[in-house]
Amino acid sequence: MKRILLSLIIVAVAAQSCVTSLQPLATYKTAVTDDRLSGTWKSDDVDYTVQKFYNSDLFKKLKKEMDKNKTDTSKTLTKKETEDSILYARSYVVNYTKDNIEYHMFGTMVKLNGQYFINFTAADINTNEQNEQAFEITLTDRLATYTIARVKFNNANSLQLDFIDGSFLYEQVKAGRMKIKNERDDLYDTFLITASTNELQQFIEKYGTDGRFFNKENSVTLIRKG
């Protein structure tokens, strides 16, 4: 039941005609931070809290669980763990609640061709329902996918996220006009970009200012609350 519900949630999040990529746009080497991003934002009566990962509530919760299970404190980090910790240090956690479901998303920014881009991936989802058996899913077993948006700081109190128009990309791929690695299912009209991070970055560098890649319907303007 949990699995079915999780699948439905992911589809609901991803089906907003945003592009979904198997690979992230930002890596631990290219990830950047900007203090203007942190804070509480509001859009369409939904509050969004953006926190640096190591300052986030999610990290505190995860750390508490990790400390409980921790046995060996002298263990040195592997190369992968070091790279991940650098990436986390440069990542944000976005929390928001919609229809009594709490969403926690990882967001990592990268600067390409003078513009900020951010890739989001689901970090944690849980319900606030008290009368049902509460469930909490850490999403560690699933294959992570990323949605990509351009970040524009309009001013100190306004932030705009322009999500890449997945339907435009899908149309171009179907018409044989776009050369990007992908997996698509024409029967269910689903489409996933499988290009490498490097290729994604090159695409964004080249077409990051092309208006066709961004649709107004996929743009979200956030107003700072605090």
Partner: protein, 347 residues
């Protein structure tokens, strides 16, 4: 020249180049396609990628290689080639990474290769096409060499025929002069002389047409010729012959030895030399023939330095150059009282 013309016909050249690029396009398309089947954008991308290779390849083949691809300019060639590779790789990289968005706004692609990888593509293509060009040139040179050798052979045969045609009348002219003298003197040996001349004529006319004949036959003719001359010159002329070594299957150019001998008799037996002589030595050692003839010189020889005697010797030198290149040594010693010829031949 037919084959050279065939290979270099402009239409054939264009077809060869077209075939190469079409094959290259097909290979690239298989390498570059995104999915299992090539899409429209794959064709466009492959075509454009190949288009950037073409000028680099032809600048190398048509300009750099012919102009600088020589041993003494190889460093300049390599430097210019490297510069061309860097330049066209840079154009390729930037075209796909940036410029194509303006030129082909409805097709979306990037440079899927790093600058170094693109340079490797260019380098590989330039090496392949250079090797193809060199192998083709080598094939032409080889064909031309063959044709040249054939022409040289034909020329040599024509020249040899001409030389033989010069030698025979020369010989017969001298012998007939001798026979004429014998007839005037009513010499009783005349019939035998005519018979021996007849044998020699048979040899000259029918058996000396080949470039090489058995050595034994040539030595028989030498004997016959000496006998003929001995009859003519009588006891005044001392003739010494010495022969050694086995003769079995070696071959020699016909009339070679006879011509030297003829010269010796002509000069040694003539004039008012008090004690004319001819010393002939023939030694055969495996495939080496040592031939030497020494003759006394008459006073006539001192006077007639431009007589026909020189023609035979010059002819024989030319024959030796044509038939025994680097396989003979000829020493001619023109001394005060004698004339010597020493010939060494690799048979």
């Amino acid at each position: 020249m037919r084959k050279y013309w065939e290979i270099n016909h402009p239409l054939l050249r264009i077809l060869q180049h077209l075939a190469f690029w079409v094959l290259s396009f097909i290979l690239f398309l298989q390498l570059f396609k995104t999915g299992s089947q090539a899409e429209k954008v794959d064709y466009v991308y492959t075509g454009l990628f190949q288009l950037s290779l073409i000028p680099a390849v032809y600048i190398n083949l048509e300009l750099l290689l012919p102009k600088f691809g020589k041993r003494n300019r190889i460093l300049v060639y390599l430097l210019l080639l490297f510069a061309a590779i860097v330049l066209f790789s840079w154009i390729n990289y930037n075209f796909f990474a940036a410029w194509s968005a303006k030129i082909f706004p409805d097709y979306f692609f990037i440079s899927y290769f790093t600058f170094k990888e693109i340079m490797a593509f260019f380098f590989t293509y330039i090496v392949i096409t250079t090797l193809l060009k060199l192998s083709k040139s080598w094939f032409w040179v080889s064909e031309l060499e063959k044709e040249l050798l054939e022409k040289e052979k034909q020329k040599t045969e024509v020249e040899l025929k001409a030389l033989k045609a010069q030698i025979n009348p020369h010989f017969f002219f001298n012998t007939l002069n001798s026979i004429y003298s014998m007839a005037l003197d009513k010499d009783e040996r005349l019939p035998t002389t005519i018979l021996q001349l007849s044998d020699l004529m048979r040899y000259f006319l029918y058996e000396s047409k080949d470039n090489f004949i058995p050595l034994k036959k040539e030595l028989d003719v030498v004997d016959n010729y000496i006998a003929l001359q001995r009859l003519r010159s009588g006891h005044q002329l001392t003739i010494e012959t010495e022969r050694s070594g086995p003769v079995n299957g070696q071959r020699i150019a016909p009339l070679l030895l006879v011509t030297f001998l003829e010269n010796a008799f002509k000069h040694g037996a003539k004039g008012n030399s008090t004690d004319p002589y001819i010393k002939l030595t023939i030694a055969v050692e495996k495939n080496t023939l040592l031939f030497s003839v020494l003759n006394s010189k008459g006073i006539i020889d001192e006077i007639n330095t431009t007589d026909h005697g020189g023609l035979g010797l010059e002819n024989i030198k030319r024959q030796l150059e044509l038939l025994y290149p680097d396989k003979h040594s000829l020493r001619v010693k023109n001394m005060k009282d004698s004339f010597a010829v020493e010939l060494q031949l690799e048979l």
